[in-house]
C-alpha cells in the first residue's frame, strides 16, 4: 500500500510538471486533463471526443489504450491515475460508508458510448454534451484555476453544472470507494474489458485451494471480491473493475510477511 501510494504521488507531480515542453501527441491512459497548463500528455478521452467530432477513426488514441490494456490491463488506474489517488484519499475521510449497487458499474459504458463517441459524433467536437464538459478532473485542473484567474464573471450555467458534477463525485467518493472509477470513468470502461485477458496476471498469493479467510475481499479498494476468482483458479485481476493495485495480494496472510511471526524452535 505504501509503495502504491508513493508511486501515485510521484505520478501526480510528474504528470503535472511540464514547465513548457509538451508531449501532447502521446495519449496517456489516465484521467488528467490535457488543458492543464502543467500537463505533459494528451488525455485519451479528450482526444476521442475530438476525433468523434472530426468523424475520423482515432487510430492513435485507441491504439495506445489497447496497447496498455493488452499489456497491463487497468494497472495504471491503480498506480498512476491522479484522479484515482484523489478517490483513494477522499475515502479515508470519516463518514458513513456504503457500496453502490452492482448495476451502477455498467453506467460507465453508457457514458463512454454517449458522451465520448455518439454525441460528439452527431453534434460536433465542441458540443456541450461531451464528457469533457462535465469531467471532474478537468474541473479541478482547468475550470477552478480558470475561475480563480477570471473571477466570478466567467461563471455560466454549464460551468455551474460541471462544478456540481465535481461536488457530487467528491461527496460520493468520500462515502463509497472508487465510486467514480466504478460508475462513470470512460477510461475504466475502455480498459476494463481488457483486464480479462491482459498479459499481466496476478499470481495467487496462497497455495491452492484458497482458505477463504476474506482478508483480500476486505482490502480490495473496488470491492470486487478477489477470493471468488482465486477459488476458481483464476488470477485476481480478471475482473473489469479491478485496478490491479495488488492490495489483495498484500493482504493475504500467506503472502504478506508477518511482523509477529517468530522463528520456530527447530529453526533456532
Amino acid at each position: 500500500m505504501i509503495r502504491r501510494r508513493t508511486v501515485q504521488l510521484v505520478s501526480l507531480f510528474a504528470l503535472h510538471a511540464s514547465w513548457g515542453p509538451e508531449l501532447k501527441w502521446f495519449c496517456n491512459p489516465v484521467l488528467t486533463c490535457h488543458s492543464c497548463a502543467l500537463s505533459w500528455f494528451a488525455c485519451p478521452i479528450g482526444v476521442l471526443v475530438h476525433f468523434s467530432g472530426y468523424h475520423i477513426f482515432p487510430w492513435v488514441a485507441l491504439g495506445t489504450m489497447l496497447l496498455f490494456g493488452a499489456l497491463i490491463g487497468r494497472m495504471l488506474c491503480g498506480w498512476m491515475c491522479p484522479f484515482g489517488l484523489l478517490m483513494d484519499l477522499l475515502h479515508k475521510i470519516p463518514s458513513p460508508k456504503f457500496e453502490l449497487p452492482r448495476w451502477t458499474a455498467y453506467t460507465k459504458y453508457l457514458v463512454l458510448g454517449l458522451m465520448v463517441f455518439l454525441l460528439p459524433f452527431l453534434l460536433g467536437e465542441s458540443t456541450m454534451w461531451s464528457f469533457c464538459r462535465f469531467c471532474p478532473a478537468s474541473a479541478i485542473e482547468v475550470t477552478i484555476p480558470g475561475l480563480v484567474q477570471g473571477g466570478v464573471g466567467s461563471i455560466d450555467g454549464w460551468l455551474v453544472a460541471k462544478l456540481a458534477v465535481l461536488l457530487a463525485v467528491v461527496v460520493l467518493a468520500v462515502m463509497s470507494r472508487r465510486s467514480f472509477c466504478k460508475t462513470l470513468c470512460p477510461i475504466a470502461a475502455l480498459l476494463g474489458p481488457l483486464n480479462h485477458f491482459s498479459f499481466w496476471a496476478m499470481k495467487s498469493p496462497t497455495p491452492q485451494p484458497c482458505p477463504g479467510c476474506g482478508k483480500c475481499d476486505r482490502a480490495c479498494p473496488t470491492h470486487i471480491e478477489p477470493s471468488i476468482r482465486l477459488r476458481q483458479g483464476l488470477s485476481a485481476n480478471r475482473h473489469e473493475n479491478c485496478i490491479v493495485c495488488h492490495d489483495c495480494q498484500n493482504a493475504c496472510p500467506s503472502h504478506a510477511p508477518s511482523k509477529t511471526t517468530k522463528a520456530a524452535p527447530a529453526d533456532l
Binding site: 501527441w25 490535457h34 485477458f197
Partner: protein
C-alpha cells in the same frame, strides 16, 4: 497464476492490433484546410496542410482543428512557431 492459452492468444492479437493502430496513426495524413487563408475570400482557393494522426491528436488538445461541412479547418497559423497552448474552452 498462469494465463490460459486462449487468454495469451487474445492478448497477443490485441497487442498486435494496437501496434498496427499506432503505426497507422503515424502513417495516415489528413487534409486540414487553412481557415484564415486570404486567397479563399478573394479567389475561392483554399490551401491545406497534410497533418498526421499524431498531429491531429496535438490539435485536439487545444481545439486546433474544427470540422465544418465535412472539412477539417485549422484554427491557427501552422507556419508560426508553436508555443504552449491552453484549450480555449
Amino acid at each position: 497464476m498462469r494465463n490460459s492459452a486462449l487468454q495469451k492468444t487474445i492478448a497477443a492479437v490485441a497487442l498486435a492490433a494496437a501496434v498496427v493502430m499506432v503505426a497507422v496513426g503515424a502513417a495516415v495524413k489528413y487534409k486540414v484546410y487553412d481557415k484564415t487563408d486570404p486567397d479563399f475570400a478573394e479567389f475561392g482557393l483554399q490551401t491545406f496542410s497534410r497533418v498526421s494522426g499524431y498531429g491531429l491528436v496535438v490539435d485536439a488538445t487545444f481545439t486546433g482543428t474544427e470540422r465544418v461541412d465535412d472539412k477539417l479547418l485549422s484554427t491557427y497559423d501552422r507556419s508560426a512557431p508553436r508555443g504552449k497552448r491552453a484549450c480555449p474552452t
